[in-house]
Assembly symmetry: C2
Homo-oligomer: 420 residues x 2
Amino acid sequence: MSDVQTLVGSMAAAAVEAAGEVAKLSSQIKDEVLTRTAERILESRSLLQQQNEKDLRAAEQKGLPAPFLDRLTLSDSVIEGMASGLQEVACLPDPVGSVPGMWKRPNGLTVGKIRIPLGVVGMIYESRPNVTIDAAGLCFKSGNAVILRGGSEALHSNLALAEVFQESLAAFSLPRAAVQVIRVPDREAVSELIKLEEELDLIIPRGGEELIRFVAHNSRVPVLKHYKGVCHAFVDAGADLETARAVCLNSKVQRPGVCNALEGLLVHRDVAQEFLPPMADEFKKNGVEIRGCPRTCRIIPEARPAAAEDFGREFLDLILAVRVVDDLDQALEHVKQYGSRHTEVILSNDYARTNRFLGEVDASLVLANASTRFNDGAQLGLGAEIGISTSKLHAYGPMGLEELTSTKFIAYGQGQCREG
Amino acid sequence: MSDVQTLVGSMAAAAVEAAGEVAKLSSQIKDEVLTRTAERILESRSLLQQQNEKDLRAAEQKGLPAPFLDRLTLSDSVIEGMASGLQEVACLPDPVGSVPGMWKRPNGLTVGKIRIPLGVVGMIYESRPNVTIDAAGLCFKSGNAVILRGGSEALHSNLALAEVFQESLAAFSLPRAAVQVIRVPDREAVSELIKLEEELDLIIPRGGEELIRFVAHNSRVPVLKHYKGVCHAFVDAGADLETARAVCLNSKVQRPGVCNALEGLLVHRDVAQEFLPPMADEFKKNGVEIRGCPRTCRIIPEARPAAAEDFGREFLDLILAVRVVDDLDQALEHVKQYGSRHTEVILSNDYARTNRFLGEVDASLVLANASTRFNDGAQLGLGAEIGISTSKLHAYGPMGLEELTSTKFIAYGQGQCREG
């Protein structure tokens, strides 16, 4: 066994032990730990920023690009955001122990489903160190132990953040192993972690497509993956075009670098001539580059002709692929071919077509007449989220506290035996 | 590409296409197809038995054991059971399109979760050909396409059964590819099927531990596994001993060869002397061999001393491991160490200990004062089941129609845009 194998193995064993204890905690204790951790994060600001500084200096020396350094920075506002995030999670209802249903069988057996923690969650992510606290808070509140593996560039920051959480745990005589960060930068640690099918109950990879694909292909532990978000809006004939423009603009520019930003715009040919020119002006004012199909380019002469690969591409930037389609069927076909099952929007005032779109599109969130940017746990009313799943098993869409739990069956009998 | 790769690949592509159509079907059409298939199965009895005869003759020539031949046989009662099973599934409520929840956000956006099919399910199983029809019926009713891969020894039977289902589909102008059986016996077909992460949404392996482990370790498609059932009953101090004996007997002997049969009995030392001798008599009358811990053997002299590996073993036979324990904690520890997260029972009249057992035991079904044999979809009131999951993601316990679906979010807006 290599040192890394030994380390990851012993962390996993400690996590299993800790998970047993965390699963039994009352909501009150869990919320006190979360509140205390939030306070400690604010108190530890200078220490956290010192450790973060080490990561930042090393990243600068490696010549990593500015947006990377930006994501890596534990600024005052990021630190305050982590603390307020924990406070919010403390205020959310505890899913553990809730009973989604209970019923009586004809033989008198009372059968119920009760919500239980998953056990040990492995979280693999990239540069943002605040994920360490967000994920730890959600896993802890849902009664799970978590093993965190952030980007090696953020190692000092992540270890310091976990240490703050662990001090709160220790102050309540709870096992520090409920929240652990893998303290070696070796890539081997990920390969080891995803093999531990006996100890881990779930792996959540968050980050680039390559990382997610590596984890999905090699994990023996169940994986909830969140691949890219290639989100579309379809502007239907007869839509309120002013509303449609506002929604498309918001979907594209409100935060272009995230997975629920708009990447493809489909416009019904009957409204293209009326809809597109003012839309193009709005986009231009907001710095959005349009890559259009031939029909789009005829209507918007400044648009750059789209290459084949521009459709279905996750730009994560102020670039938008635009296509004029013949009808709803062509729009549905396009979404099926190029969408990533993340977020799809119809802008329409037609009852039948809106219903068809909501019904037939296979995506974790399908909206009528609202921005793609609403695909987010907090925006949809689930509270904080640990990720957005684009696979259908267990969770499809934003994963909040409830999605970090399972249910078991319980039954209250009076000596019932089975006959047939 | 090998021939098998080509075959499995084209089956999967056809299944994806078919799944799109099946997902949209009304409950009424689906139920008519199921009813028609049930009728056709009864009408095709002699044809089915002819094809089954080919499998039986080949299995006999291979010298396969009698219980295997028994499981392989499409007797009149198995055929009638498949037909009535389909009729029952037709009568169950359709999960697709049901709305588990809908709510309004402060900005007026109405958000809901709506139940949708998973897509394409791969089912890998062993000798019983009736699984072909049971699984096909459940997958079809839940709006999924299914690719079935039974044991190679049952190939003629399985193909004939799928053909009957496909004829019903064709009679309703529905795609035959909604229910497909892989028609080559090569092991390679399984390895190919579980690689198709783009086409398949779920793999369900049912059968021996080795098969399940192979699938779980090599699949790129999410797997819902059902490992062995090592089920325990704990007879607590102060339990109603007569009830306890009846429940333990039923759990052990009502059908000893299945996963929810009792394999380990734990008895509180305070009642061991009173409980065990009459229990041993009952077991003896029913042909059950007892393998006991030293304390058990002192109380029941005919008991055979248990070997270390008898605890935690899935006998699937009239054999039972029995241990006297000091208290509830020792019983919980035993269940944690040797149980398989399947089914665990406490026989007790003590409020606090019963609650602890129900709360702390991590198993898909935990019962108080009722037989382990109730861990079954129909017995718990879910209708027919496609398997019993012992992993916690997506489904833990019996998987019925609802567990063959996912949910997506839908949102009805009036032009909402995101601000923060």
